[in-house]
């Protein structure tokens, strides 16, 4: 076999074999998740990779028979509503802060940015208990509004990536608009925002996903024990408690799949924007 044939035939095969292997490694746990969600054994199957019996029961149970342990439809709605509001508030906060720090010049700009850097260095969990007591004084514990405020309140601090993106928009554009007599708010709303689709998509996805992923803060704020108030994350996390895992593991998997499907679809559709948005920003950091 000549070298050229090697190059043309064998190399691509090796290349794609490696890719296939890596994909398998990355997807095995996901496949296991999906398979286990169809298992007819409610606990953890430790003997075989694939379930011994297949059933839809775990999914139908999640919806048709909501009990206090698995009140999935309610959790899904709760999380969805929280996510929508969190997303609205924190996306606008992030865009507002990043636009102001990127495109406007004012005296407090540098000090504010430095403070933001310092604040970002403290571990978030440190302030949890204090936030809880502040919410309690505002009578907002055990309320979804409280949770939305927690998720969205400090979101302005995560402005760096979006700022990096705005930095790449040529300032001449804003200048010419200003000369034509546009006010600052018009420049922001009518010129810059329409140009920033990638970063908006990135910000929106990120803030929409936060409530689906968080179980620590949610558990602390929604502490009445009433499972109808929970979010998906608390509910699913709870199913893996010592006394429950043997009868709910398969249902946990089913719930996990149901949560992951919309998120995956979002991710895949938005992949392009995500890449553009995050790199536009991460380039500058």
């Amino acid at each position: 076999m000549s070298r050229r044939v090697m190059k043309r035939i064998v190399n691509p095969i090796i290349r794609h074999a490696v890719l296939l292997f890596l994909s398998v490694v990355w997807l095995v746990p996901i496949v296991w998740l999906v398979c286990t969600s169809f298992s007819d054994y409610p606990g953890i199957n430790i003997r075989t990779f694939l379930p011994e019996g297949w059933t839809f029961k775990n999914y139908t149970l999640l919806f048709s028979d909501p009990d206090s342990v698995a009140n999935f439809p309610k959790w899904f709605m709760n999380t969805f509503i929280i996510a929508i509001f969190t997303c609205l508030i924190s996306s606008s906060f992030v865009l507002m802060v990043s636009y102001a720090t990127s495109c406007m010049r004012f005296k407090m700009r540098k000090p504010l940015m430095n403070i933001a850097i310092i604040l970002n260095l403290f571990p978030g969990f440190l302030t949890m208990i204090a936030i809880y007591f502040i919410l309690k004084e505002l009578n907002l514990t055990n309320s979804h509004l409280g949770l939305i405020l927690v998720y969205a309140g400090s979101s302005g601090l995560g402005y760096l990536v979006a700022k990096g993106f705005f930095d790449t928009i040529p300032s001449s554009l804003r200048e010419s608009a200003r000369i034509e007599g546009a006010s600052e708010d018009q420049i922001f709303l009518k010129i810059v925002i329409p140009m920033s689709k990638p970063i908006i998509v990135y910000t929106v996805i990120n803030s929409f996903l936060a409530p689906w992923m968080d179980f620590v803060m949610a558990k602390l704020v929604l502490n009445s024990g009433l499972s109808k108030d929970w979010t998906v994350a608390i509910g699913l996390y709870n199913m893996l408690g010592k006394t429950l895992i043997n009868s709910y593991f398969a249902r946990f998997c089913a719930g996990g799949v149901l949560v992951s499907i919309p998120i995956s679809v979002l991710f895949i559709i938005m992949q392009k924007f995500y890449v553009e948005g995050i790199t536009g920003g991460a380039v500058k950091g």
Partner: protein, 478 residues
């Protein structure tokens, strides 16, 4: 140094302006020392005058009715303990008027902040009223209220943009942070938990406890162990995901790879599953009696590892997440699984931006793929993603999810000294901090750890940025 000098200069100017305003101001300016709206009434800015006076009334009412009682108890954090007696006739508990140390700390702090802010507003107000006086004396135009409001859409647009997000940050980050920093200097722990008990100031006792060894506590020992693993973890996790992500994206984006989008999607699916689902799943995957162990047993891998001494002969499974060394190794591997797809996405974007003339020129000069990667791609990536890398490192120091979800309830330490202070070999400072608050209610020690994490991150960030970014290139980038 220059910025510090500037800072003090501006403070000096601030008070100078105030002095000038008071001395040279007319009757309206002097009156606004008492009633904040007065100066605006004098210049016919009635709406503004009413607003300022109302604000003043609110602040005074707040301070007197709410703030002062808390500030008065701030030095001791309260001295009346809660007592509750059941009254059978009323069928209720009768409770004395007790002090709640945490509320005193929280509201005392908020009140102090409000008072400081109020004083600043008051000074600013006098200065701006004096400005109005100067404008009036020179016969210049004084803005109407409508014009003032319009300013917020134009020259002061940044204030419109920033006020809400900044108040959110103050409420949900700054105030809680200050409270918790103060807690590090108190005795707030399991035996001093409000409302049943009081806590008080203890100075630097908690820091001493963290850094001096004594017979009864092992915080000092645990801190050293946990800190060193935290740093090793942060370096390993950052480096592996970074390099892995770049390699993967180069592989995927290579022109010889067919269907790059499909392959990329496979990796994206893995990160689209929420971490608490995927990590809890993986934890059961690698459990001592988990599916991976069953497979390894059946394939004879367990026996092989026993033979070469990697697994203790007394075990009948591979201790993926239960042996200190194995667990650290497994965690880093799983973190690669979690982190590489993210880096892959970022690297994809950056690689697309690499000036192709550079690589082309190198190729013409006869450089092979590896040389191009080492001499061009990698330096470019490092240059471009440097700041992101620093953020990533700090993020890994605080990477709670991976460690907590993989090891909590599963990993039992064999080190008696670590166990005595609720730490394990695989704990990061943040997970240790979290466990101290959740299981032991040891809030004061947790705060000390939190402050330490901050110091470590701050030092690292400062050093890294000084190395990487020489000067501020922000302006010329645009």
């Amino acid at each position: 140094m220059k910025s510090i000098k500037n800072f003090f200069c501006s403070i000096g100017r601030f008070f100078k302006d105030f002095g000038v305003a008071v001395v040279k101001g007319d009757i309206w300016v002097k009156l606004s020392l008492l009633i904040m709206g007065a100066g605006y009434f004098g210049r016919k800015q009635y709406v503004k005058g009413v607003l300022m006076t109302a604000l003043q009334a609110v602040i005074i009412a707040f301070t007197v009715l709410f703030g002062l009682p808390y500030i008065g108890k701030f030095d001791t954090l309260g001295d009346v303990q809660r007592e509750s007696v059941y009254d059978p006739a009323l069928r209720k508990n009768v409770v004395n008027d007790y002090d709640h140390s945490f509320k005193i700390l929280l509201f005392g702090l908020i009140s102090i902040i409000v008072i400081i802010v109020a004083v600043v507003i008051w000074i600013r107000n006098v200065v701006s009223v004096r400005k109005l006086q100067v404008l009036a004396e020179n016969g210049k135009h004084i803005n109407t209220f409508r014009e003032d409001v319009r300013e917020f859409r134009n020259g002061k647009f940044h204030i419109t943009l920033l006020s809400l997000p900044v108040s959110g940050i103050v409420c949900f980050t700054i105030v809680p942070l200050l409270v918790i920093i103060l807690v590090a200097f108190t005795s707030y722990n399991k035996t001093h938990m409000p409302p049943a008990e009081l806590f008080t100031w203890v100075g630097f006792d908690n820091f001493e406890k963290m850094f001096s060894s004594s017979l009864t506590t092992t915080f000092n020992y645990s801190f050293g162990k946990v800190l060193s693993w935290t740093l090793i973890w942060a370096v390993a996790a950052t480096a592996t995901t970074y390099i892995g992500g770049i390699l993967l994206s180069m592989f995927l984006n290579n022109s010889k790879t067919k269907l790059p989008k499909m392959w990329r999607t496979f990796f994206v699916i893995a990160i689209a599953v929420p971490q608490f689902v995927s990590l809890l799943l993986v934890r059961n995957f690698f459990a001592d009696m988990g599916i991976v162990n069953t497979i390894c047993n059946n394939l004879g891998i367990t026996d092989f590892l026993k033979e070469i001494g990697w697994v203790r002969s007394s075990l009948d499974h591979i201790p993926f997440l239960t042996d200190p060394t194995w667990a650290k190794f497994t965690i880093i591997i799983i973190n690669i699984w979690v982190g590489v797809p993210y880096l892959m996405l970022i690297a994809t974007g950056v690689l697309m931006n690499i000036p192709t003339d550079l690589t082309e020129a190198a190729r013409i000069d006869g450089a092979n793929g590896f040389q191009i990667f080492r001499k061009i791609t990698m330096p470019y990536m490092l240059f471009v993603t440097g700041p992101y890398l620093v953020t990533q490192f700090v993020g890994n120091i605080n990477n709670f999810n991976v460690i907590y979800l993989l090891t909590n309830d599963v990993y039992i330490t064999l080190d008696q000294k670590l166990a005595n202070s609720t730490a394990t070999e695989v704990d990061l400072l943040v997970t240790w901090l979290f466990k101290l608050t959740q299981n032991d209610y040891n809030y004061n020690m947790a705060s000390v750890i939190g402050i330490m994490v901050f110091i470590i991150c701050a030092v690292f960030t400062l050093v890294a940025f000084n190395f990487m970014i020489k000067g501020d290139r922000e302006e010329d980038f645009q």
